[in-house]
Symmetry: C2
Subunit: 195 residues, 2 copies
């Protein structure tokens, strides 16, 4: 039986928050959307959002069906320092992309970004703040933000070539071959000379 | 006045060939489509196709609205040899992407590839044969095909980050900054150690 009335159960509240969040992020962007506004649109108390999603960032990850939560995973990758970070990032990115469900979610984000400017804007804001911002903060060289975006460019391109366009022999190469080939690129972007 | 009858003028024949070519490439792939079959579908003599488009490869470039014809441009880039090829390729790729019309055509190809498997298959076949095949043939190291696909991955990722998702500061960086940062990556993929 369908639930009715003013007090939906937990799953109804969660779904209502997610639906309102998708509308709010699309209308106002990642920075412009607020927990208070999203809760109001969902007809719920703002205090309920942290209960379900922890933070605006967690809500965005859930609403956009991000395959992983960078806030939960990046600190562990970054903590050991810049030495070997290129390899850790490539290995981690491949582990996401080799999992069919996570890959589908990631490719959905890419598909949205190339077909809708609003989706590109949302992805840009979120990735800049929550992913590249964290990577840049771990960089000890000049131009940390440029370095982080260069890292992002190689990882997105790897996903496009290996999993979307599926160009051989890169598509069928075993992950360790890819790590060996690409990790030095990422490491140079993080810590090498860019000039 | 609209033209009528069985013998369209040159522009009508050209358009008929392009329309038939798009259908044939979609149905049979780049390798499977034939000049003879395309001309037959267009109701024209196969000898007319080279007159307008030179070759199947030229017809594909026109039908898919490729921004540039790799068969015409790559030999000049590759001729001076592997030394400095990374920089020449990045500089050339940026020159295409900085031209708004060419960029739009390139992004249309990417958009097609992420949204339709048939478009991804066509792009894959064509790029593998006409672009990466030529680059691989210029490489003097082991695993030339893998090296060519790695080059492609960085260039596609650069396009995604700089022109589609438009992540700053990479999106606004001047071309020379990008060349200095990315050319060594391409050069290493072409001629450096991958292990």
């Amino acid at each position: 039986m369908a639930r009715t009335g003013r007090r939906p159960g937990a799953s109804g509240s969660r779904a209502a928050i997610l639906a309102a969040a998708r509308r709010a992020f699309a209308a106002h962007g990642y920075d412009g959307a607020t927990i208070r506004g999203i809760a109001g649109q969902a007809g719920l108390d703002p205090a309920m959002v942290p209960h379900f999603f922890g933070s605006k960032q967690g809500l965005f990850v859930a609403a956009m069906e991000f395959p992983v939560d960078p806030a939960a995973l990046l600190p562990g990758l970054l903590a050991p320092g810049v030495d070997g970070l290129g390899e850790r990032l490539v290995r981690f990115f491949l582990s996401i992309m080799e999992a069919p469900g996570d890959r589908g979610a990631f490719l959905g984000l890419i598909r949205g970004a190339v077909t809708h400017e609003e989706s590109a804007a949302l992805l840009r804001e979120f990735v800049t703040r929550e992913v590249l911002g964290r990577v840049a903060a771990a960089v000890n060289e000049s131009q940390p933000e440029l370095r982080a975006t260069l890292v992002g460019s190689q990882l997105v391109g790897l996903a496009m070539a290996r999993y979307v366009i599926r160009i051989e022999p890169l598509a069928a190469a075993d992950p360790e071959t890819v790590v060996a080939a690409v990790a030095p690129t990422i490491q140079r972007y993080l810590a090498g000379s860019l000039t």
